[in-house]
Symmetry: C2
Subunit: 349 residues, 2 copies
DNA sequence: TTGAAAGCGCTAACAA
DNA sequence: TTGTTAGCGCTTTCAA
């Protein structure tokens, strides 16, 4: 490996050049330098050139914190993003998409993980507000965001993602959890399944409720009875899912199919079915796709969400609000798609 | 769904309360309010209480951009993070780990994706510098970071991750790419393989070079000749990998094992082997683990990196620098681990 | 221990 | 078109 070290690491004490230094070197007034640097059309070509040359020579970098402080609108061109867990693929796709939209509009994005804790959510939102972010994209963990009402009233735009705002009026971008789930369960029913297990996330999470509702919708539509014994919540820990699966398959009248209402649960179920060598016997449909779902045996049938689309939409809606759109808030619903790969097409034995 | 809308979306024109308002309401001077809010020990208990009460009553939120502007050190308590692609699991694990360390120390993190473009890297770095981030964690795409020498000299701390700094002196946190690769290939050799293909990323990427070097080390150590025909670069597009795999298996003296030097390549190879029904015939070891690698058939043997550890270390090193550590820069090497799952233990037929 | 005043780097109002 | 001046919200002298 090359080892040519060209620049020393020692911090130099020379202060950064300011716009005053640029103005002085260019031999113009402070305001002219500012206008020239921002490309305001009023300033003459000659002075503009002189200012830019001086700035380049000094390696001048404008101080955006100072600028935003003085700006009429006081905007920072920064947005905040509150994620549940930035290491999870759904979140990171969201983050990437929002970031791309933001950068394209000259905004930067601060982000943090909240891990389903309403308390961390509130604290992080306050920190972002203290940094005067112009807007917030938030996957809410709490069930009452009215604590943020004050920030909202004071001009911080809010867009909710994946889960709706509660007790506050704001835009939201959501998947069609209920419809996607209903369709998946109807598919299982059409194959002859009558004992379909539902394994879901903690019911305090809005999407978990919606997906359960979709499951119930399907049963009702097909005239099947809802059996509590087939329904289990809060099994998103991979090891928990496998254990619970065992119980569901061990019932007197056991499940012949499983609807796993979250991707970590789906993965837990796959592991459990493998262990029992039942992966070709028990049908499985998962909500939310995941990488390599097509490479396991059998490949996994899923209701696929579109985090990329959701994130892009969230970014666009937020930026429209920041650019002054004051139309009534809206709820955008992004369709899911049903991807048949094999595990969901197994008939009851 | 509940629809109780409690707070209107209309932005209110009332300006945010400032520290002056707090001081006035508490009946103290501006400086006293500032000291009280920051918990400086000099201020009397009574005044402190009065100030805090006033702040609470006004729902006062300090303006951190204004504060950092005036601060002696001018620090923003913000760090920037330059990732290649924040939607990739390695990057997002890194991001999460750095974020956790930063938050624990009262810092926020700005981040952006650079997609292996040196130009985007330079532009984003400049934007972060303009926001006066205190430090930067960077997965470099470029091969010359001396353009940032000026920022560095002016006090912005830099920590490189996954790939070393070039033409500039800075801390770096790296995986032991070379050793991990050597061990993997030696393992294949020990099973009797003599024709081992190397499929790697673009050679302009430092890690790709290192992993190739590890492959060569292993051959040399075992006294095998290096055959150019078995080595292919820049196959990180999933569909490309499958095609290239076909060529390698179609040689007059074909490969009996594949070392896939990046996780997207590994996945492409798995797809290709599947298609040709050779997944139980041709051995495969991948560099970098990925979710569900244990659930495909056969389960995939990998050299596993530790992005969580790397990210945590990067955050800690950066924060130490920010807290004044001026010791010589260092290169930290994080061990890889070898995880045997089946695909790498196939003997040549 | 407190407060008045200066000033961080910038943009906006005002004057020339 | 340009320059001078005020002041964004805060922290830090400096003097009381």
């Amino acid at each position: 490996m090359k080892r040519e070290i060209t620049f020393p690491n020692q911090p130099e004490s020379r202060p950064r050049p300011t716009i005053r230094d640029v103005a002085a070197l260019a031999g113009v007034g402070l305001a002219t330098a500012s206008r020239a640097l921002r490309g305001e059309p009023v300033v003459s070509e000659e002075l503009q050139a002189r200012v830019l040359r001086a700035a380049a020579q000094l390696e001048y970098l404008p101080n955006l914190t100072a600028s935003s402080l003085r700006l009429k609108t006081r905007e920072t061109h920064t947005i905040g993003m509150l994620l549940q867990n930035s290491a999870n693929p759904f979140s990171s796709a969201l983050h990437r998409a929002v970031g791309d939209v933001a950068h394209a509009h000259g905004y930067e994005v601060l982000s943090g993980s909240v891990d389903e804790s309403a308390d961390r959510e509130r604290r992080l939102a306050a920190k972002f507000a203290a940094r005067r972010v112009d807007g917030l994209v938030i996957v809410p963990a709490s069930h009452d965001q009215s604590y943020r009402a004050n920030e909202l009233r004071l001009g911080m735009a809010l867009v909710f993602v994946d889960r709706p705002a509660e007790r506050i009026d704001a835009d939201a971008i959501l998947s069609d959890n209920r419809l996607g789930s209903r369709q998946a369960v109807l598919r299982l029913i059409s194959l002859g399944h009558r004992r379909i297990a539902f394994m879901g996330d903690d019911l305090s999470i809005w999407t978990a409720q919606e997906r359960l509702q979709g499951y119930r919708d399907a049963l009702e539509q097909a005239g099947l009875v809802f059996d509590e014994a087939l329904v289990r919540h809060d099994v998103a820990q991979p090891d928990v899912a496998a254990g619970v699966l065992g119980e569901l398959l061990g019932l007197a009248d056991p499940a012949t199919a499983v609807f796993a209402a979250q991707n970590l649960i789906t993965i837990g179920v796959i592991r459990g079915l493998r262990l029992a060598s039942l992966q070709h016997t028990v049908a499985l449909i998962g909500f939310d796709d995941f990488p390599l779902s097509d490479l396991v045996e059998p490949a996994v049938t899923v209701v696929s969400q579109n985090p990329q689309r959701i994130g892009t939409l969230a970014g666009e809606v937020l930026l429209q609000r920041l650019e002054g759109d004051t139309s009534p808030t809206q709820r955008y619903v992004v369709e899911t798609s049903f991807i048949e790969r094999g595990s969901g097409e197994i008939r009851p034995s």
